[in-house]
Amino acid sequence: MISDAMFWGVTVLLGIGTFLIRFSFMGFLGNRRMPEWLMLHLRYVAVGVFPALITPLVLWPDATGGQIDAAHLLGAAAAVAAGLWFSVAGAIFAGMGTLYAVQYLQSAF
């Protein structure tokens, strides 16, 4: 059981902490110009964060108990291809479709 004090303490502090992390640069710096070297690095935030976020979900999915699995690898490859040439929706169809197809083949043989 989680005690009331524990729950509300953690929730409120986590809420405040998370807000401050999100607010940080955007909020406190306001309209000030960041130094050029920092701006240079900030151009690569998205391509720096998301591949690292994706990698463990593809290589060691919880659903397989963290085992490397062909269906997930091939699904991710299909999503990359569709994402490069089509749209978000296209990548979702390609990725999920490939996953289902390979999972079906794995269970059939």
């Binding site: 989680i2 524990m6 729950f7 303490g9 953690v10 929730t11 502090l13 986590l14 809420g15 902490g17 998370t18 807000f19 992390i21 999100r22 607010f23 940080s24 640069f25 955007m26 909020g27 710096l29 306001g30 309209n31 000030r32 960041m34 701006m39 240079l40 690095h41 900030l42 151009r43 690569y44 935030v45 391509v47 720096g48 964060v49 998301f50 591949p51 690292a52 976020l53 994706i54 990698t55 463990p56 979900l57 290589l59 999915p61 659903a63 997930h72 699904g75 991710a76 994402g83 490069l84 749209s87 978000v88 929706a89 990548a91 979702i92 990725g95 999920m96 996953l99 289902y100 999972q103």
Partner: protein, 243 residues
């Protein structure tokens, strides 16, 4: 038409574009938020508590971490440290968005910060980079367009999961929609050599540092990738000057 009218029309169009761009991502928000509702109830939290957490924090991965550690009776300090570490990446989102929206009134920036989920950052930064001519009002409108379905679905489906006590069946493998959606977002960003190098370093570091505690691999990988991308850009520029 007066310029004022044109501007508000552009802002309205940007809002709807953001909303539309976010719609495919509902496929990952629905199972994830329902699962949180279910996990929270299983942990003995009531409906009000489950909802409060989703509304106060709105950061899925850190909510799961916090609930799991509270169930194990970890000390408050450890629960907070672990859950906040999961959200550390958002400081980088905040920094990357600052040059675009730093001129907005502080009240709006506070609301944007509160609602800053991964999709909001990823879709907005892509839109801003692709359309440097966008005005502040349009940038803000686009962001709030993305947020509308993302956070709406997050609240609504946490509620549904907590009330029904049932998540989307695991046989549907919707867990895989999470990496797939983010792949779909990142793939079109591979538009220059430095971007490709950064993504490659990010993947490699995520594997190399996978065993670091407190989700540190993500932050380390992102920082190394940013340095790699920046160095590569500088190197390319120098080579161009010399040639």
């Amino acid at each position: 038409m007066r310029p004022e009218q044109t501007r508000s029309r552009h802002a309205r169009a940007a809002y709807w574009r953001g909303l539309r761009d976010c719609v495919p991502f509902i496929i990952i928000i629905v199972p994830y938020s329902m699962l949180f509702g279910v996990v929270a109830r299983d942990a003995g939290l009531n409906l009000l508590e489950a909802m409060s957490m989703s509304v106060i924090v709105i950061a899925g991965a850190s909510q799961f971490t916090a609930v799991a550690l509270m169930q194990e009776h970890a000390p408050v300090f450890i629960v907070l440290l672990a859950a906040l570490a999961v959200n550390a990446r958002m400081a980088m989102y905040s920094a990357a968005l600052q040059p675009h929206v730093g001129r907005a009134p502080i009240r709006l920036r506070a609301i944007m910060a509160y609602l800053m989920v991964d999709q909001a950052f990823a879709l907005s930064i892509r839109e801003y980079d692709d359309h440097p001519e966008m005005r502040l009002r349009e940038k803000l409108a686009y962001y709030f367009g993305v947020i509308t379905p993302a956070c709406g679905a997050w609240y609504a489906f946490t509620f549904l999961g907590a009330v029904l006590g049932r998540a989307v069946p695991p046989e549907l493998s919707l867990h895989f929609a999470v990496p797939v959606c983010f792949i779909a977002l990142v793939a079109p960003m591979m538009k220059s050599l430095p971007h490709v190098v950064a993504a490659f370093v990010s993947i490699l570091s995520a594997v190399l540092f996978a065993d670091l505690p407190y989700n540190a691999a993500l932050v380390v990988a992102a920082l190394l990738a940013m340095i790699a991308g920046a160095r590569c850009e500088v190197w390319l520029a120098r080579r161009r000057v010399m040639a």
